[in-house]
């Protein structure tokens, strides 16, 4: 039970799509993926994994592979891999993201799996995110106009820096959108037809 968030589900499935992994390793990958900003705890991760197993999206890998060292079937670690349903679910999550994908907390994760999607989905997320950011710009600018009296030097400085950061992100997003629209990603293959070579 205990409904897990879509973004965590997406992240776990996405990582397991690249390679089967056990929980501990998964957490490290997850934290480096999220840019050391969010540090997901075991108290969240392990129950989530159990939930995903119960939902039939992942399974415990029975294959006792000894790629790491010479421990034969000791079963200290539990390696998880995607089921067919899990792969489908991942495609579903990554292809029809919905508004939550352009929230601060979720955008990064969706972006990180862009290589697993198509141009349409990428554009949906990038453009949604840009709209969000532009709304934020408008809101702050209007607030600044409405009452400039009650803000002291520091508050104004904070606001100014905030605006600058958001403007910077908007420019970045615009560049990415233009590149996607142009479609001349000569250095990238279409992940639908020809998925990029996995890690090792």
């Amino acid at each position: 039970m205990s409904r897990r968030s879509d973004v965590l589900e997406l992240a776990v499935l996405g990582l397991l799509l690249d390679a089967p992994m056990h929980g501990y390793e998964l957490r490290k990958q997850l934290n480096s993926l999220l840019g050391t900003i969010r540090a997901l705890s075991y108290g969240t991760l392990y129950p989530t994994l159990k939930g995903l197993v119960a939902a039939g999206l992942i399974r415990e890998a029975t294959t006792t592979d000894d790629t790491t060292s010479s421990l034969a079937g000791k079963r200290a670690r539990i390696v998880y891999e995607l089921t067919a349903e899990g792969k489908e679910r991942f495609q579903g999550l990554v292809r029809s993201p919905g508004p939550s994908a352009w929230e601060d907390e979720n955008f990064g994760v969706h972006f990180a799996f862009f290589a697993r999607t198509d141009t349409a989905s990428r554009l949906e997320i990038l453009e949604g995110r840009r709209s969000r950011m532009q709304e934020r710009l408008d809101a702050v600018r209007q607030a600044a106009l409405r009452r400039r009296e009650r803000f002291d030097h520091y508050t104004l400085e904070l606001q100014r820096h905030g605006l600058e950061s958001v403007e910077h992100e908007v420019r970045w997003l615009t560049e990415l959108i233009d590149t996607e629209r142009a479609g001349n990603m000569t250095h990238l293959r279409d992940p639908d037809k020809d998925p990029p070579a996995p890690g090792r």
Copy 2:
């Protein structure tokens, strides 16, 4: 009961220090203060206010002031004001911030009340924040070096933009720190001796 977070307490006390207010108004101020990023809900705010009253830090203002319109003592709104203990508590929070002040969620609130502090406290927060940001830079850079293989184009792009943003913030912080150290804030008065004129 229900221990409230220090940052929320700081924000509420800080706003009430400027002017007594009722909950609804407080929420709007709070949200514009936090740059429209966090939208604090009533479900958090009102219980917090009750908690602060119970703790003796704020009180319901008995003075039925009719600055807004001609509603005589109808008691639709509950205007809160700081007690002497509340003012002390605010000074305590703002003067000895501790490590939590340079976290993402709290830094902005502390910064917004810089005008109510002294140079030493400001520098403590600014320098702590800058250290945090530099640690983050180091972590990402090392992660990028350790395994450059398994990152695809998009992941790298996300990482690059993240680095750029954090570098931008570090430069900003450095400027602010230099200004504080130089002490030539000629356009600002010392808030200890001569607090800046409140809103209206």
